[in-house]
């Protein structure tokens, strides 16, 4: 039964969900873009503020678990949600269709992600995952009059549905053998010798989740969705969706010993290596910044899989640090894209040529994009370096030399295209001046971008408080 304490633990989720309802009612009553955005942002901020309160409450609602992992995930989800909501306001200002529903979809997706990171039962896992995915179809295809956006939305919908089918089938197989849906009970149920049915079920689960993470070979949707979707929607796919799904995958792997079985780990290692190489290689000659980021995210998920393979408390810490640094850098890159793109035409400024010489008319945006790229490449003094440091340290600690080699080679290939983006920003080409929609963007968006830039630098120079926080949460996670 739910108790009052449990409700306190659920507070962030409840706040976000009720904000969604509020926004929906508001839209039904009267359309107001600024007001809707303000309500969304304050709802998300309130949820973020309630996190310490929620984590202090010893709550254990049924089907869910609020441990360090969930808390870490919730914080990351809310921070990215907040950023996206703030940036969407400026981005959608020039959009001609209805604007307010976008925030509704965003809030629903965030609710789903919050549930996902805290789910302790296959039912909540499934429902939250769908609650996260469904609004995303709408968000990606939001600008449905442009062909690209619609194409991306439909592609995402169909492939996602297929992945969901895999996921459900996997759950069914595991349930059929163990008779449990709750993760801890399920883990105890499969603890014996894993039979082929359970292994098959686990592999199917992996396929379903791997699709959301766009791990090779389940990555085909990524470039199209990244390119076609509206920039804020793509940002949700790149940050909220990926991090929530990754955390749930990590929880599954750490809880259920079946994933520790030899060939399944070998399979994950293979997928990780494939993603590292494939993602980076596919991004190499990409002329489109959003597609490039899509491929680069494939590679980053490949690096992150090392944490899943090695396991242990350091893996949790690594995941937290890496995910956060990755997300900050991704937010920086997409923040610049959102800021530069005007939605008047329905197409984002995603071609690299739009950014040629950006430094010479908006130096701060160029500096932020440079920082984000350097951070994604893992160069010291940016946040990304510590992410890479953790991942390599983890690989070395676990003596997974093949994976370490993969990370090193992958990063080197990656450098090539990150540098290509960076140098484009500084090239001066007279006559190629692209008008940049800069007017009419509010102070709040600029402040958000500034915060992202500062946190990339700060995490790169003095990451101690952050590392301590993540380490504390990782050791407090109840699944080890």
């Amino acid at each position: 039964m739910l108790t009052l304490i449990d409700l306190v633990g659920l507070l962030p989720l409840l706040i976000v969900a009720s904000t969604a309802v509020l926004v929906m009612l508001g839209v039904a009553w009267r359309r107001h873009h600024g007001g809707t955005a303000a309500v969304t942002v304050s709802g998300l901020a309130l949820a973020l503020a309630s996190l310490p309160l929620a984590s202090a409450a010893p709550s254990s609602p049924p089907l869910m678990i609020f441990d360090g992992l969930a808390l870490m995930g919730s914080a990351l989800v809310l921070v990215s949600g907040l950023f996206i909501a703030v940036m969407s306001h400026g981005y959608l200002a020039g959009y001609r269709g209805p604007r307010e529903e976008f925030y509704l979809l965003l809030l629903c997706a965030v609710t789903g992600a919050l549930g996902l990171v805290a789910s302790n039962h296959l039912a909540t896992l499934f429902i939250s995952l769908e609650l996260l995915s469904m609004p995303l179809y709408g968000m990606v295809a939001y600008s449905f009059r442009t062909e690209r956006s619609l194409e991306a939305g439909i592609k995402y919908l169909i492939l996602s549905a297929a992945a969901t089918a895999f996921l459900l089938f996997g759950m069914a197989l595991i349930y059929a053998r163990t008779g449990h849906l709750e993760l801890t009970a399920l883990a105890a149920g499969v603890a014996g010798s894993p039979d082929p049915w359970i292994l098959g079920g686990a592999a199917l689960l992996l396929v379903g989740l791997g699709f959301k993470l766009s791990i090779i070979p389940f990555h085909q949707w990524t470039p199209d969705v990244y390119q076609g979707g509206l920039a804020p929607a793509t940002t949700v796919v790149a940050t909220v969706s990926k991090l929530a799904v990754f955390l749930v995958l990590l929880r599954l792997v750490l809880v259920a010993p079946v994933f520790g079985s030899g060939w399944l780990l070998g399979l994950i290692s293979l997928l990780a290596l494939l993603s590292m190489f494939g993602g980076n290689l596919l991004a190499l000659f990409q002329p489109d910044l959003k597609r490039l980021l899509g491929y680069s995210s494939i590679a980053h998920m490949g690096y992150l899989l090392v944490a899943v393979i090695v396991g242990g408390p350091l893996a949790l810490e690594t995941t937290g640090v890496y995910l956060f640094t990755y997300i900050v850098a991704t937010m920086g890159a997409f923040g610049v894209i959102m800021h530069v793109s005007g939605t008047g035409s329905g197409e984002d400024a995603s071609g690299l040529h739009h950014y040629r010489g950006l430094f010479w008319h908006s130096p701060w945006l160029a500096a932020l994009l440079t920082l984000s790229m350097l951070s994604l490449a893992g160069i010291p003094l940016t946040a990304g370096f510590f992410g890479k440091f953790y991942i390599i340290a983890l690989g070395v600690e676990g003596s997974r030399w093949w994976l370490v080699g993969g990370i090193v080679i992958g990063s080197v290939i990656g450098l090539f295209y990150y540098l290509r983006v960076i140098v484009t920003l500084y090239l001066r080409e007279p006559g190629m001046q692209q008008a940049v929609a800069d007017a009419g963007r509010g102070r709040v968006e600029k402040l958000a971008l500034l915060i992202v830039a500062v946190s990339i630098l700060l995490l790169g120079i003095y990451p101690v408080p952050f590392i301590d926080w993540v380490a504390g949460l990782a050791w407090a996670a109840r699944l080890l």
Binding site: L381, F385, L415
Partner: protein, 507 residues
Amino acid sequence: MILFWLILIPFLGGMLCWHSERWGEQAPRWIALATMLFVLAVSVVLWAGGDFSAYGTGERPWLLEWRVPWIPRFGIEIHLALDGLSLILIALTGFLGALAVLCSWKEIVERVGFFHLNLLFVLGGVVGVFLALDLLLFFLFWEVMLVPMYFLIALWGHSGSPGQTRIRAATRFFIYTQASGLLMLVAILALVFVHYTSSGEITFSYDALLNADVPDNLSFWIMLGFFIAFAVKLPVVPFHGWLPDAHAQAPTAGSVDLAGILLKTAAYGMLRFAIPLFPEQSQAFAPVAMALGVVGIIYGAVLACGQQDIKRLIAYASISHMGFVLIAVYSGSELAIQGAIVLMVAHAFSSAALFILSGQLFERIHTRDMRRMGGLWGRIPVLPGVTLFFLAASLGMPATANFLGEFMVLFGTFRSAPVVVVIASAGLVLGAIYSLLMMQRVHFGREQQPGLLAGPDVREYGMMLALIGLTLAVGLNPQPLLDTTASMVRPVADLFMAGPVRAGGMN
């Protein structure tokens, strides 16, 4: 604390340069110059006031030391320490940094502020490399100097070349060095975790890791990780692919920094980290390293003979000179290592001078292609004579510092590896050939065009006189330099002597 400021000041100066652009074109130049002169002045003051005979013993291992915890979670500290070698190299950084600012005074006319930001960031990173003792901090600075160098080459690279090649050269430079840097990171982490499993203490501290107990099979690979990172930067021959292009496309200031200082970080890294951390493995590896050094000497010199582009010629000559350094570092002889340090300093002066001269030549005749030169001796006052001096220095003329360095290297190495020395000496002959060839083709011969060109102005005179003076000073009276570094070199040389295997499998 003063060590920390030595690193911080170039970075702060760089930020200031960027912002001072609005105060006028000249402001960034003066700020950058003042910053580098400050670094130089601090190091000279430290040098004048330091007592270099007393430190190096157990109680006082460093001349100056500063440590504060940085990331306690992994035992990472901001641990800076100064000894004779780092002091010499920091003074060199300050001096060549000032020269780099001076030589781009007229060459760089656009985006001046941003240029000097990058220049000072490179130099700040280099100072950090020379001071950092914590392994992660060292790695950090090692990487930090790459990004601004990349920008220097990619954005201010030579306009004489088709647009795309300078970016390609910059990218190649970055990828080579970053790839090898990542290998070093893996090696550092492996070392740290091995030390952690044996001692239960997680730390990146140099002192602690010096005594790490590493299993034999692993330690060789870790040593190799360090070696490759340094070998790419030095560069050692199979890893040299980035150097000629980077030099040819870089602006003069970039070439001066690359040849004068960045290459030295590699030799410094070997002396400070690769050998002391893995003495036995290094000793076993010494024949291979020396062989690579010999290959580098001959290969660099032969290729230098065939170059048409002045800067490429100097770049290949650098590869050749660095081969001597590599041989000396792995010779295990105190005399040779001292010689390597003298040679590093001498090479910094002579190659910086030659790059500056080729930059000045480029400003006057707008080409670096030697086929389009000739007969310049009569057309430009003073500069050809200066060029002759530095080419003579580069080929190892007695009385110059270069002669002394090469002589000490060969003399010191002879006892342990005579065959290496014999072959390496052939490199000296080749050195004379390419140096004189360059002089002949650029300044003598038939005049391509008539007409007198401008002679050096005060700024150019000043730079050249300073470099000539220093080259002669070190060549004629090297004792102060040798005294400064002696107490750092002796323990490194002793490491080889103490080992069970004698170096010199080459003979």
